[in-house]
């Protein structure tokens, strides 16, 4: 048992699963000697050798495509795309092939692969390093999309992702990589891959978020609690397949929902959750479903980044607006 960061938890899960299962291989740019640009794969090369910890040429479509070939042959590739902005070139492979191999062959072939990529803004990174592509991937049939928001959840969800028999996109919030530590026991216990996680209970309003926005939502919940508003905070954790039951049940109690996402607003994943509420949850809603999101703009470079990103303040003010309905 140790207090570790989220990126260390990713490393721990990789190490655990590579030791347990000889079919697990790690691949990507600079994942070997360098241990990955964020150090998520640190030490794996020395522990498992260059056959299983593979520095690839600089080619993302290759990384995704060769993972498919490896998975079809029975390996369990865990590929890293160095930054989320370079993940768009793999959509073709994930959508047209990884998510379809089992269906296309009617179960003859399978594609158990994990594609990890750091995501989200807030670390003052250069262009293309602050992307939130989750909605695009969540639209793809045949895959799972997972987005942890704490070291413990990163550990348990990554284990689950690697063990899952189908392709999983695993998004890691760079902003939380080293922001705080949590006690993580390296016991090999995976978390469920199809459940939202309720982090805080409250009956006045439901805050739904994932990735780094969970952190902002919790901060907003604290602030709101100080004003006597009881907030339920739900970490979606697995975006696809989505556990709407947990969200609907919460909103059935609170009657109000604010969904927080740092991605561009239009056709973002917040809209998916809101749409489900507008259908299956409509009769329980007491207030408009509000989305606090990034704007429909390019994530600005460092100097304006914080004006783009949803903040606890923006969440608080949305929640207070929702509270004006009853």
């Amino acid at each position: 048992m140790a207090q570790i960061t989220l990126v260390e938890a990713v490393n721990l899960a990789l190490r655990h699963e590579m030791a347990r299962d000889a079919d697990v291989v790690v691949l990507g740019q600079d994942v070997g000697r360098d241990g990955g640009v964020f150090r998520a794969t640190l030490g794996l090369l020395d522990a498992f050798g260059p056959g299983r910890v593979i520095d690839t040429p600089l080619a993302e479509a290759l990384i995704a495509g060769m993972s498919i070939g490896m998975a079809a042959e029975g390996l369990k590739p865990v590929a890293e795309i160095q930054f989320s902005g370079f993940a768009y070139t793999v959509i073709d492979q994930i959508l047209n092939h990884a998510g379809r191999l089992r269906h296309r062959t009617q179960g003859r072939m399978r594609c158990p692969m994990v594609l990890r990529t750091p995501c989200g803004a807030g670390i003052h990174a250069p262009e293309h390093h602050s992307e939130s592509p989750e909605a695009m991937f969540a639209h793809i049939p045949g895959i799972r999309v997972v987005y942890p928001s704490s070291p413990r959840r990163a550990y348990g969800l990554l284990l689950a992702a690697i063990r899952d028999p189908d392709p999983v996109l695993f998004l890691e919030p760079t902003r939380l990589y080293r922001l705080f530590k949590e006690e993580v026991t390296d016991n090999g216990d995976a978390l469920a891959l199809d459940q939202c996680i309720t982090l805080r209970e409250g009956t006045d309003i439901t805050l739904v978020s994932w990735g780094a926005m969970v952190y902002e939502s919790l901060a907003a919940a604290d602030a709101l609690a100080a004003e006597g508003i009881a907030v339920e905070v739900i970490d979606v954790a697995t975006l696809k397949p989505l556990d709407m039951d947990t969200i609907l049940a919460s909103v059935a109690r609170s009657g109000r929902c604010v969904i927080v996402s740092e991605a561009a607003r239009t056709a973002g994943f917040a809209s998916e959750i809101a749409a489900n509420l507008a259908d299956d949850g409509l009769l329980t809603l007491r207030a408009p479903v509000l989305r606090v999101t990034g704007y429909d703009t390019v994530v600005p470079l460092a100097r304006l980044e914080n004006h783009y990103l949803p903040s606890a303040e923006r969440i608080v003010s949305a929640a207070k607006h929702a509270m004006t309905f009853s």
Binding site: V25, G51, R52, I54, T56, P57, A59, A61, L62, A64, G65, M66, S67, I68, G69, M70, A71, A72, E73, G74, L75, P77, D92, Q93, N96, H97, L101, R102, H103, R104, T105, Q106, G107, R108, M109, R110, P141, G142, P165, D166, D194, P241, L242, D243, M244
Partner: protein
């Protein structure tokens, strides 16, 4: 100025246009039984192909991609590979798939619009046909990497068209195969056309074989209408790969005698002369001429074979037509290992709405 590197691309053929051997035959080509077996496959493939086009024309099959004129490639690849090797093919190498154990019924189902066609009765480790051009070049890298990691005596074979070589995936594949010295053979069927796009529009490269140089791998050119040349090149490349010698890129020069698919009309963009000239070089007649010259073939055997092939194809058509319709839930039941809770409702809806 000094010479930093130097490359040669060689072209090989064994039979000339009229089926005469140009040089002493390689050992495998001295086995008449083996050659007539190749000929039998080429004939069967042509019969299958003609029937598939006919089924499409009469509304019994969807869009179909014909192999007409490329039968030597099918036979050369199909006969050279072992069962344990892995074929990753485009839609144009169905003949090779047939030789590896995929059934004609499978292929009819596939082109008939039924996913069960890619369940493959045989060749269970082979990839389904790759429709997104060249994407499978990267899958092949993964397959070959897995084979190498496990030190297995197997080889991945990836077949592509001339048009496919323009796509980044193709290049990422050959480059990675070179970097890791993988047991992988890239086979480019240069049939001169990509739909309506002639090979000169694809690239200024004089040969497709030379694309290999960019990946630091061996590239060579063969006459793709000479099944002996194709077979020899495959044998050599497979043996090299199996022995740890790394990847090879083979360019086979051939010609697409048919339309691109049944949805295409090639007369819109290429002249009849060109096609007529290409017919003179077609591979089935060439091998027949060679076999006949050597006394291994005659009219009677030909008639018997055609009769057998047609019967075999007809039986497959019937099996295809007698196949019960797919389950309505087919789209859900093999999407994930199990049907996720979130999809159960949708699955039920399909059943309810079709009730």
């Amino acid at each position: 100025m000094s010479l930093a590197a130097h490359f040669d691309i060689q072209y090989t053929r064994i039979l000339d246009d009229s089926g005469r051997a140009l040089a002493p035959l390689p050992p495998f080509a001295k086995d008449a039984a083996a050659l007539t077996e190749l000929y039998r496959w080429m004939t069967l493939i042509r019969a299958f192909d003609a029937k598939a086009v006919a089924l499409q024309r009469t509304g019994q099959l969807g869009t179909f991609a014909s192999m007409l004129g490329q039968e030597a490639i099918q036979a050369g690849i199909g006969s050279a590979m072992t069962a344990e090797d892995v074929l990753l093919s485009s839609y144009r190498e169905q003949g090779a798939l047939l030789m590896r154990g995929v059934t004609m019924k499978d292929l009819f189902l596939y082109w008939g619009g039924d996913e069960r066609g890619s369940h493959f009765s045989g060749a269970r480790g082979d990839f389904p046909i790759c429709v997104t051009i060249a994407a499978h070049a990267t899958h092949a890298v993964g397959v070959a990497y897995a084979i190498k990691l496990r030190r297995q005596p197997r080889v991945a074979v990836c077949t592509l068209g001339d048009g496919a070589t323009s796509k980044g995936d193709f290049y990422e594949g050959i480059n990675a195969a070179g970097a890791w010295q993988l047991p992988l053979v890239f086979f480019v069927s240069n049939n001169q056309w990509a739909i309506s796009t002639p090979r000169t529009t694809q690239t200024a490269a004089q040969t497709f074989a030379q694309k290999a140089i960019a990946g630091g791998i061996e590239g060579l050119q063969v006459d793709g209408n000479d099944v002996l040349a194709v077979r020899q090149a495959m044998d050599t490349a497979l043996a090299k790969a199996r022995g740890g010698g790394g990847p090879t890129l083979i360019e086979a020069l051939t010609y697409r005698l048919s339309d691109h698919t049944t949805a295409d009309d090639a007369s819109r963009y290429r002249g009849a002369d060109e096609v007529a000239a290409a017919w003179k070089l077609e591979p089935v007649a060439r091998l027949r001429a060679f076999l006949t010259q050597g006394g291994a073939w005659d009219k009677a055997r030909e008639d018997t074979l055609l009769h057998e092939c047609n019967a075999q194809v007809q039986a497959a058509v019937e099996a295809y037509q007698n196949e019960p319709p797919p389950a309505l839930t087919q789209m859900f039941d093999h999407l994930y290992a199990g049907v996720p809770a979130a999809l159960q409702k949708q699955r039920a809806a399909v059943l309810a709405e079709s009730a």
